[in-house]
Amino acid sequence: MAWKFAADAPIYLQTAEIIRLRILTGDYPPGTYIPSVRELAQEAAVNPNTMQKALATLESTGLLTTHRNTGRQVTESQDLIRMLRIEQARAYVQSCRQQLVTLGFSSEEITSLFSHWSGESTLKKE
């Protein structure tokens, strides 16, 4: 299944974002090696040059490191991953809050909506 891309942003950035999330969610655990550029390009149905560029941007943030012969390794730093997960959570909350503000909810209402429905969804699962 080819990956889905939005029309308004460069493909390499969207590709990098998908791989970043795989690292943050633990699909690619800390210290493990990710698949090769070719394999990933094949899976995503993107140009290998694009995938290369995407991985390079992740290297520049320290999330991946390249080893000459063995490929690309996810950072072993749990701290870095934890920090990035918190940043990601903040981005999700902010974007959700923004949408609720657009819908006309106040700050206090939004907080109570969050506690109300997060409780409900746990109940349903059980």
Binding site: F5, A7, I11, Q42, A44, A45
Partner: protein
């Protein structure tokens, strides 16, 4: 291999007319190695004419085309692997005959690779072309073209007449099988289908190049996909 020091393709001041109909107008183009390039434009823009000039099937009235630094001509056919719009393989032929034909014609043809790809498609080499569906024929033709180790692959509408699943197969074949020193030029109307596999896009309009940029540059600068930009530039 001094070819790799030169751009894969250079066109300079290219002109082509059919009678009084001026199809390619003073066209300049340069492609570097290892790129996948989309050639897009509305019907009648001159895509197929440009491709035929590059493949030395037509002769330009003026201007120059160099393939890996060599002028186009009989010699350059060894460097260019061409997938025409329509198949030229005869109905009575078996798939294995077509492999023979390619092995005879092209020193860079890798028969093992072709057989391997055919096996993955579950195409029997003993099958005759007349027994194959249109889509399967197109796939076989693509397998033949991509099994050469060429400097430049020129694919004229490779995904035109096939179903979406076959389209995915064809695109992944293109992605996995090109050699990294080579460049692939794909002409197509179906931009949104190929956009993610392209490095660069060339917009051809009335025989001239109106835009030649990397896909990500287009998305970054315009904030829209190549497909959307195409619809804007070529709005009827």
């Amino acid at each position: 291999m001094d070819s790799f020091k030169h751009p894969v393709l250079q066109c300079r001041g290219l002109n082509k007319s059919y009678g009084r109909h001026h199809v390619i107008k003073d066209l300049d183009l340069e492609l570097s190695p290892g790129r996948i390039v989309g050639l897009v434009g509305p019907n009648g823009a001159g895509k197929t004419t440009l491709i035929k000039l590059i493949c030395s099937l037509l002769t330009a009235q003026s201007g120059q085309i160099l393939i890996g630094g060599h002028p186009v001509g009989a010699g350059s056919k060894a460097l260019v692997s061409y997938l025409p719009e329509r198949t030229y393989l005869a109905d009575w032929m078996k798939v294995a005959d077509a492999l023979e034909l390619f092995a005879d014609f092209y020193a860079d043809f890798d028969r093992e690779k072709a057989l391997d790809m055919l096996a993955r498609l579950s195409v029997d080499p003993k099958a005759r072309f007349k027994t194959l569906s249109k889509g399967t024929r197109e796939k076989v033709q693509l397998v033949l073209v991509m099994s050469r180790k060429a400097l430049l692959y020129v694919l004229d509408e490779p995904i035109g007449g096939v179903d979406p699943a076959a389209r995915d197969y064809i695109l992944s074949t293109i992605l996995t099988n090109y050699n990294e020193e080579g460049t692939i030029l794909i002409s197509t109307h179906l931009i949104s289908d190929v956009e993610t596999v392209l490095d660069e896009a060339i917009f051809l309009k009335d025989g001239q190049i109106v835009l030649h940029k990397s896909v990500d540059e287009i998305r970054q600068e315009e904030g829209k996909s190549v497909d959307e930009l195409f619809r804007e530039v070529f709005k009827c």
